[in-house]
Amino acid sequence: MSLAMPEPDTATIERRDEIVAQLKRIAGDEAVIADADGRRAFETDGLTAYRAMPLAVVLPTTTEEVADVLRYCHQNKLKVVARGAGTSLCGGALPLEDAIVVGVSRMNKVLELDYNNRIARVETGITNLAISKVVEEEGFFYAPDPSSQLACTLAGNLAMNSGGAHCLKYGVTTNNVLGMKVVLMDGEILELGGAALDAEGYDLLGLMIGSEGQFGIVTEATVRIIKAAEGARPMLIGFSSSEAAGACVSAIIASGIIPVAIEFMDRPAIEVCESFAKAGYPMDAEALLIVEVEGGEEEINDLLTRISEIAEPFNPTTIQISSGASQSAKIWKGRKSAFGAIGRISEYYCMDGTIPLSQLPLVLQRIGEICASHQLRVANIFHAGDGNLHPLILYDANDPDSAERAELAGAEILTLCVEVGGCLTGEHGVGIEKRDLMMTQFTESELALQMRIKTIFDPDWLLNPGKVFPLHLAPQGLANQA
């Protein structure tokens, strides 16, 4: 794999024993993982092609411990990589050999549930799904639902501003967070927002979300919880072309209906998911939409009937409304297990570009051509309502050349997304994966502006270095020179 990381600082690595001893003194023996086997569990994240053994791993249990660890690292100019569950698909949690991994996974308590104010205050090591689980009995849920929601932590969701399939209606992470407690690199603890909406002053909360662990480590958050609709039901609509499917999505939105989700799958994605989940997906379709609506029983029937009528002119090959809860669950299981299902047949590289909906047919055609030119297969999954495209490029992990070609094809696809008016990443983040492509979306002076903002929060560039910005632009040396 071709992405370089900053050269590790050998002097720091030589001080490892002393650093580990100090970390144990600060956070306790229990919290520090220093042996090779223990550290190996942290050497990569969801972008498994890249690995690096961290200097040490600390798993604190309180905000104050996080603050003490960061203060020590700051005083000793040690790099820090924050980590939730390590599910990042862009290498956002990839360690460095001269960095301390600070994981929040042991901080997973629910601190407060307040249904009248519709908020939950939690520690950020809690998993995304666990938040919804704990408010479920009152009929509430936490809206952002990334595919990895069973495993991924809120901390990682905050760092990457994660989305999910239901964002069309409920928004992404940043639209669902009201407050946080964050530890800055120098160990200072900052509380932002809370139960009230729209704090005054510059929106530091909004700036913190999506900052990819480069501004601070968020240990607590106040998130919005929403009363779930009375019911929800998906329908499947198959088409003989992706053009027809894209046009149908436009027509649904033009009619004034905002479904809670509109998911698009192309033929390769349909085949793999169906063979895995037996969801009842139509095997004769070139493109499939899963459209879900919410409300009372009659409202759902009304909306699904309207959508069926809207779809008619696009000559659907299948229109199938879910018959009930078990079929609905199967339909979503097929979609949500897409990554796992494809992972069973091949290694794949999951892309995350965003495009204007109108460009979908062109983009899918070009993706097909790009992958063919690299002798690779591709399956496409698309959050059609919000333009977020996930091409899954299949490659052979045992063949370095194939992996290299997958990376090249991925870069060409993301560049294409930017060219048609979209962006490099919709919900996964930049990490290391898209770092070197940032110049396709931003000018050098725009990147310089963003890097100056990073410097406000972390003047020595110790937090999650080597990510987000092309190495040649970012002052990575700062940490080593200091």
Partner: protein
């Protein structure tokens, strides 16, 4: 009066800034100037207005996105959206009339620069939640873009949110790209009469715990309800607690009934149909019940919804205050008698005890110079905000001191 310079393009705006950079002279940034009396008074050498930078240059109804130049009148944008049965879902509020400015003149740039959201904010999010992308000129006269035209975008840091609500103190918005949504087919409002503040607040919070997507939750105590222009409500002589339902006709009918049944314990509501509903919610968008007056000052307080009545009670122990609750009790407009400090010390204490933020929206300029207008920040947040100011506006040229003395 200082000069008003009107830039027609971002490039022209950059050129206009250069002499002020050279002379280190601050400038006021304005759209139509409808909010010029909000914030701390400033000493500036000139006003730079975006009002000549207008026009909608991209609108894709099926992608729910529109782009416009910063000085485009909001009225033009809303008319264009309405012609496609769409809307700005966050329902921007017009602070012009209540603060002594003109009504209905605000520009789209200022809507985002001031993060102006109305009643529907409780369900769909704030102005800043709808800002997808922007082009802006920094205080260093640098042109930059952030975000994009797509709804999901995590490429780089979120500068759109940073600039939304910065009141022109970081950069001038020359273009904004924002999310739009379908307008509802039908609107209904459930009106409960005569509830005291605490019970009205309880009703609003109870409604938000139901699965019917209530998109407006306000409570107007008797004195304030009497000021309504919607005659059918003003004539009642009682407090008004209102819930709004918007959707397709069938859904509105179903949900109105479901809400009425679920909230039976609070009485039998009057139901307003679409026409009266639109009149009622539209007048709230321009704060008709908090009219401009030199004899009173106006505060905007944001708190946890259930704390609304407690904050008000704490303020009313010290002064006569007329209030209007929005956002299920989480947003309170508080009108107090004019005084040397506009009641700041008591109001800030009430907010400190109960949680939240208070902003002085209307007061004489001498008062706005003497007290903090925006919620004071803790030292660490203040330091980070100063860092942002330094980054975007290194010469402290743009609206210096409008939000905070040192920004």
């Amino acid at each position: 009066m200082s000069d008003i310079l009107r830039a027609a393009t971002a490039w022209e705006l950059q050129s206009m800034l250069h002499p002020y950079i050279e002379r280190q002279q601050p400038v006021e940034i304005a759209g139509s100037g409808s909010k010029s009396k909000i914030g701390r008074p400033m000493q500036t050498a000139a006003t730079i207005s975006t009002s000549s930078m207008h026009g909608i240059w991209m609108y894709e109804p099926t992608e729910l996105v529109m782009s416009a130049h910063g000085g485009t009148p909001l009225a033009q944008i809303e008319a264009e959206l309405a012609s496609n049965n769409q809307m700005l879902a966050f329902e921007p509020i017009d602070l012009g009339p209540t603060s002594g400015g003109r009504r209905g003149t605000l520009t789209i740039g200022s809507v985002f620069a001031c993060n102006s959201s109305g009643s529907r904010r409780i369900m769909v999010g704030a102005a800043r939640d709808h800002l997808l992308g922007l082009e802006a000129v920094s205080g260093g006269a640098e042109l930059f873009r952030a975000g994009g035209r797509v709804m999901k975008n995590v490429t780089g840091y979120d500068l759109c949110r940073t600039l939304a609500g910065s009141w022109g103190t970081l950069a001038v918005l020359t273009e904004v790209t924002f999310k739009v949504l379908p307008a509802p087919e039908k609107t209904a409002t459930l009106i409960y009469l005569g509830l005291p503040d605490d019970i009205g607040n309880e009703l609003l919070c109870a409604a938000m715990r139901l699965p019917y997507e209530v998109s407006g939750t306000v409570h107007l105590p008797k004195n304030v309800a009497a000021r309504l222009e919607t005659a059918v409500l003003a004539e009642q002589g009682q407090s008004v607690t209102a819930l709004r339902i918007e959707n397709f006709e069938k859904s509105v009918d179903y949900r109105t009934n479901a809400l009425r049944n679920a909230l039976k314990v609070y009485g039998d509501p009057i139901i307003l149909g679409s026409t009266n509903s639109l009149e009622f919610w539209n007048e709230l968008r321009r704060l008709s019940v908090m009219p401009y007056s030199e004899d009173t000052c106006l505060w905007r307080i944001s708190t946890a919804p259930v704390m609304g009545p407690k904050v008000v009670a704490a303020i009313q122990r010290h002064m006569a205050a007329e209030v209007f609750y929005d956002w299920s009790g989480g947003l309170i407009w508080v009108e107090v008698p004019a005084s040397a400090d506009a009641g700041a010390s008591d109001i800030r204490r009430a907010v400190a005890v109960n949680g939240g933020y208070a902003t002085l929206i209307r007061a004489d300029s001498s008062v706005r110079a003497a007290v903090e207008v925006f919620q004071p920040q803790v030292p660490l947040a203040e330091r980070l905000m100063r860092g942002l100011k330094q980054t975007f506006d290194p010469y402290r040229l743009l609206n210096p001191g409008r939000m905070y003395a040192n920004l």
